[in-house]
Symmetry: C2
C-alpha cells in the first residue's frame, strides 16, 4: 500500500494538474504501460494514477484496448516527431540523420525511456491479432522501415535497401534485448555496431 500510494503521488505530480483528464489519463497510461506492460496494469490503477477514476476513463475511451491503441498511437507520433526534428537539424544530409537517430536511441536507451522500445515491447505483448493496437504497430513499423530505406537510398551508400534492413533489425534487436541483459548488453554499443555496418557500405 505504501509503495502504491507513493507511486500514485509521483504520477499525480507527473500529470500536471492543469491538464484535462483525458491527457492526464494518457500520461499515466504511458508511464504505467511502459513500466508494467500492457497486460500488467489495470484501468483502475491508470485512472488512479491520473488523479481520476475509472468512470471518467471510460467516458473518454471506449475500452482498455482502445486506450492501449491510443497510447501506442502517441508513441508513434512521438517517434515521427523525432524524425522531423532530425531532418531539420541535418537538412539534406541523410547519413547525418541516420547517425543522429542511432545516437539518440542509444542515449535514450541508457535512461530507459525510449518510445520505440515501448512500441516493440507492446508489439510482443499483444498476441491477439484483432487487438486495435496491432494495426497501429504494424503501420508504424512499415512506415519506419520505409523511412530508413528512403534515407539510405538518399545517402548514396551501396546497397541501400540491404543496409536499411540491417540497421532496422539491429535497432529492433537492441530494443528487444534491452531488458533481458544488464549493463553489458550488446545494445550499449549500438552506435558502434551500426557504424561498422554503415562503413562496410561505403563505396
Amino acid at each position: 500500500m505504501d509503495a502504491k500510494s507513493a507511486e500514485q503521488s509521483v504520477h499525480r505530480n507527473a500529470s500536471e494538474r492543469g491538464l484535462p483528464p483525458r491527457e492526464r489519463i494518457l500520461l499515466a497510461a504511458r508511464a504505467l504501460f511502459a513500466r508494467h506492460g500492457v497486460h500488467g496494469i489495470g484501468v483502475d490503477a491508470i485512472a488512479e494514477a491520473a488523479g481520476t477514476n475509472k468512470m471518467t476513463l471510460y467516458r473518454h475511451f471506449e475500452s482498455k484496448d482502445l486506450l492501449v491503441a491510443e497510447y501506442l498511437r502517441g508513441l508513434t507520433v512521438e517517434t515521427s516527431a523525432i524524425w522531423c526534428e532530425l531532418e531539420t537539424a541535418h537538412p539534406d544530409d541523410p547519413l547525418a540523420q541516420i547517425n543522429a537517430w542511432l545516437c539518440r536511441i542509444a542515449h535514450h536507451a541508457e535512461h530507459g525511456n525510449e518510445s520505440g522500445c515501448a512500441l516493440a515491447s507492446a508489439s510482443m505483448q499483444i498476441t491477439d491479432p484483432a487487438h486495435p493496437g496491432r494495426k497501429v504497430i504494424e503501420a508504424h513499423t512499415r512506415q519506419h522501415r520505409d523511412k530508413l530505406i528512403q534515407l539510405c537510398r538518399a545517402s548514396g551508400l551501396a546497397e541501400p535497401e540491404q543496409l536499411a534492413d540491417q540497421l532496422f533489425l539491429l535497432v529492433e534487436g537492441s530494443r528487444a534485448t534491452w531488458q533481458t541483459v544488464g549493463d553489458d548488453h550488446p545494445g550499449a554499443a549500438l552506435a558502434t555496431l551500426a557504424a561498422g555496418i554503415i562503413a562496410s557500405h561505403r563505396r
Copy 2:
C-alpha cells in the same frame, strides 16, 4: 465451443497419449504459450489440451509461473541441442556453423515455429522482474551471445566480438519484428543480410 473442442482434440493428438502427464502438459504448454502468449492462456486450458486436468498439473508444477519457467527451460535446451547438432555437422568449421544456424532460423521462421522466437516473445511478455522465468531467459541470452562470440573468434574473421553482436542483434531483431510485419518482413532476408555483414568482416 466447436473451435475449442477442435483445438483441444488437435492438441490431444499432438500430445501422444502414451506419454506421462507431465510431458503431455509440457507439450501442451509449449504449443499454447507459443500461440497465445504466456499471459494469454490459463492453466485450465493447458491441462485440458494435455488431456488431463488442473489438479494433476498442480501436482507436477508448483505454480503457473514455475510451469512457464520450465517451458522456457525446455526452449533453451532445444536451442542448445541445435548448436550441438550444428557442431557435429560442421566440425572445426565455425563459420559454417554460423551460416547453418542462420539458415535454420530463417527456415524455421518461415514455418512459424522457432524456439528462439518464443523465448524472445516470452521475454518481453514477462514484465515482473521476480518471475522465475526471467533468470532462465537471462542465462540463456548470455550463454547464446557467448557462443556466438566464441564462434566468431574461432572463425578468424575481423573484429569477432563486434561481428557477434551484430549478428546477435540482427537475429533478435528479426525475431522481434517477425509477427509485426507480414510476408515482406525484413527477417525473410535474414540470411542475406547476415551474409553481407559477415562478408564485410572478411580480412
